[in-house]
C-alpha cells in the first residue's frame, strides 16, 4: 500500500487525492499585454522550449487581474496559476503593476493560509525582451506544480456550466 502511494502522484494538500495515471497539470498563465505577453511571443520567435502545460490569457495590464480570477482558476480548471507583468517602473500604464503587486501578495498569503501550497500561485516580472526568462519561469512553475500534485479543490461536476 505504502509503495503504491509513493509511485502515484498525490496532492500535497490532500493526500487522499491521487492523480489519475494520465494526469497532466494545467497552469493558467495571465500575462500583461505590453511586457510579458510580448516576452512570451519572443520565447516563441526564439524557438525556446518550455513544458506545454501552460494556457495563456492576455490582459492589458497586471493591474487588470482581479484576485478572483486566481480563485476562479484554482476552483475550476487550473492546478497552478502564473501571473506575469512588467517590471516595476516599466508599466505601460505608469503604475498598474504597483497596485497589482499589493493585491498579489495579500492573495498569495491568504491562499497559503487556507491550505494552498505557495507554489500554486506564482508571480513574475517578465519584460518584452526576456524571452529566455519566460521559458525559465514556465519551466519552474510547471515543475513546482507537478511536485504538488493535482489540486481538485472542488469536483468539476459541481459546476453548473
Amino acid at each position: 500500500m505504502e509503495a503504491e502511494v509513493k509511485d502515484k502522484i498525490v496532492s500535497i494538500e490532500k493526500p487522499e487525492l491521487v492523480a489519475p495515471p494520465d494526469w497532466k497539470p494545467v497552469i493558467m498563465g495571465i500575462l500583461c499585454n505590453w511586457c510579458s505577453y510580448a516576452g512570451s511571443d519572443l520565447t516563441g520567435t526564439s524557438r525556446m522550449q518550455y513544458p506545454p502545460n501552460i494556457r495563456i490569457i492576455r490582459v492589458p495590464c497586471s493591474s487588470r487581474v482581479d484576485p478572483w480570477f486566481i480563485i476562479k482558476a484554482l476552483q475550476t480548471t487550473a492546478d497552478g496559476v502564473l501571473i506575469s507583468g512588467c517590471h516595476p517602473g516599466d508599466c505601460h500604464y505608469i503604475s498598474g503593476n504597483y497596485y497589482a503587486r499589493r493585491r498579489f501578495l495579500v492573495t498569495k498569503e491568504l491562499l497559503k493560509m487556507v491550505g494552498f501550497h505557495e507554489h500554486r500561485v506564482q508571480y513574475s516580472w517578465v519584460s518584452a525582451a526576456e524571452g529566455a526568462k519566460f521559458a525559465q519561469v514556465v519551466k519552474k512553475v510547471t515543475e513546482d506544480v507537478v511536485k504538488l500534485g493535482p489540486l481538485h479543490l472542488y469536483k468539476k461536476e459541481n459546476f453548473s456550466k
Binding site: 500535497i12 478572483w68 503604475s95 491568504l110 494552498f116 453548473s160
Partner: protein, 283 residues
C-alpha cells in the same frame, strides 16, 4: 464602562436642539442581559439607550440603512467602529456634517460569558478616532499584536489547514449575513450576487462559499477594522475573522504598517502603493 446616562443626556439634548433626526445607539434586548442596536427617532425613547461592555455591535453599519440615509444622525462609536466610520467618510458613503458622533474611549467588550472578547484583547486603537465628543479617558495607540489564531494556524501543516478550511467552507450556508452585517459592505449590488460571479458556481455549494468568502475577504483586505460584526451575525458560527486577520497581518507587515481607517482620507491598502513594497516574492 457604563456611559448609559451620558449618552441618554447627549441624545436628549441633540433632539431638543433639533440637531439630529435619528439616534443610533444600543438598548437592552428585553429578555436577557444582551443588547441590540436601537435606532431612535422619537425623543421619548432616549431613556432606553444604554452603553456598557455588552455593547458589542458596530453601529456604523446602520448608516447605510434606508432609515438613516441622508438624515442627520447621532451615533455612538467605539474605537473599531470609528475606524469603519472613517472609511465610510473617506469613501463618500456618509457626510460628516450630517453626523453627530459620540466617541468612546473603549475598554473592550465582553461575550455572553462575561469574558473579554479576543479582538478587544488584541485591540490596537481602543479610542474613537473620529468624534464630536469623546466619553472616557483616551488610552492612546497600542502595539500591533498578531492574532493568536493566525499564529496557531501558521504552525499547523498544510494538510491540516486545508482540511480545516474546507470544513469552514462546507459549513457556510451562503446566507450572506456576514456581508450584510459588515459596515464596509455597502455596494449597491454586491459582486457575489451578480450573475457574472455566480454563474459557474451554483448557489449553495462549498465551492461557491469558497469563492464568495475569499472574494469578500479580499474586498475587505486593507479595509477591515476587526469589529467582528460578521462573526456575530454568522448563524454557522464560522471563524470569519481568520480570513480578515490574515490579510490584516500581511498588509500591516508589508505595506508600511497600514491599518484601515485610522486617519480620515486614508483609503484601503489596495488603493495606493509604495515603491518600497515587497518585491522578492515575484520571480
Amino acid at each position: 464602562m457604563d456611559y448609559s446616562k451620558q449618552i441618554q443626556d447627549i441624545a436628549a439634548k441633540l433632539f431638543t436642539d433639533g440637531k439630529i433626526d435619528v439616534f443610533v445607539g444600543y438598548r437592552m434586548n428585553g429578555f436577557d442581559d444582551n443588547q441590540v442596536p436601537a435606532v431612535i427617532t422619537d425623543p421619548k425613547e432616549v431613556s432606553t439607550l444604554v452603553f456598557t461592555e455588552k455593547s458589542v455591535f458596530n453601529l456604523s453599519n446602520y448608516l447605510k440603512a434606508d432609515h438613516t440615509r441622508n438624515k442627520r444622525v447621532g451615533l455612538v462609536v467605539k474605537g473599531c467602529d470609528s475606524r469603519s466610520l472613517n472609511l465610510l467618510l473617506t469613501e463618500s458613503q456618509v457626510k460628516r456634517d450630517k453626523l453627530y458622533i459620540i466617541g468612546i474611549a473603549c475598554e473592550g467588550v465582553v461575550d455572553d460569558k462575561g469574558q473579554k472578547v479576543q479582538n478587544c484583547m488584541e485591540c490596537i486603537i481602543p479610542d474613537a478616532v473620529v468624534y464630536d465628543e469623546i466619553l472616557g479617558t483616551p488610552k492612546g495607540k497600542k502595539d500591533y499584536i498578531v492574532n493568536a489564531d493566525i499564529k496557531a494556524l501558521a504552525e499547523k501543516g498544510l494538510v491540516e489547514r486545508r482540511e480545516y478550511f474546507e470544513e469552514i467552507f462546507e459549513n457556510c450556508i451562503r446566507c450572506n449575513a456576514c456581508r450584510n452585517s459588515c459596515p464596509l459592505c455597502y455596494c449597491t449590488k454586491c459582486c457575489i450576487d451578480q450573475e457574472t460571479a455566480t454563474i459557474y458556481n451554483g448557489s449553495n455549494t462549498s465551492s461557491s462559499a469558497f469563492h464568495a468568502l475569499m472574494t469578500w475577504s479580499l474586498h475587505l483586505a486593507g479595509r477591515c477594522v476587526d469589529c467582528r460584526n460578521c462573526e456575530k451575525a454568522c448563524p454557522s458560527h464560522l471563524p470569519l475573522h481568520l480570513l480578515h486577520k490574515q490579510n490584516e497581518k500581511v498588509i500591516f507587515g508589508n505595506f508600511q504598517n497600514h491599518l484601515a481607517g485610522v486617519e480620515e482620507g486614508d483609503r484601503g491598502a489596495f488603493y495606493k502603493y509604495s515603491l518600497k513594497d515587497p518585491d522578492d516574492f515575484i520571480m
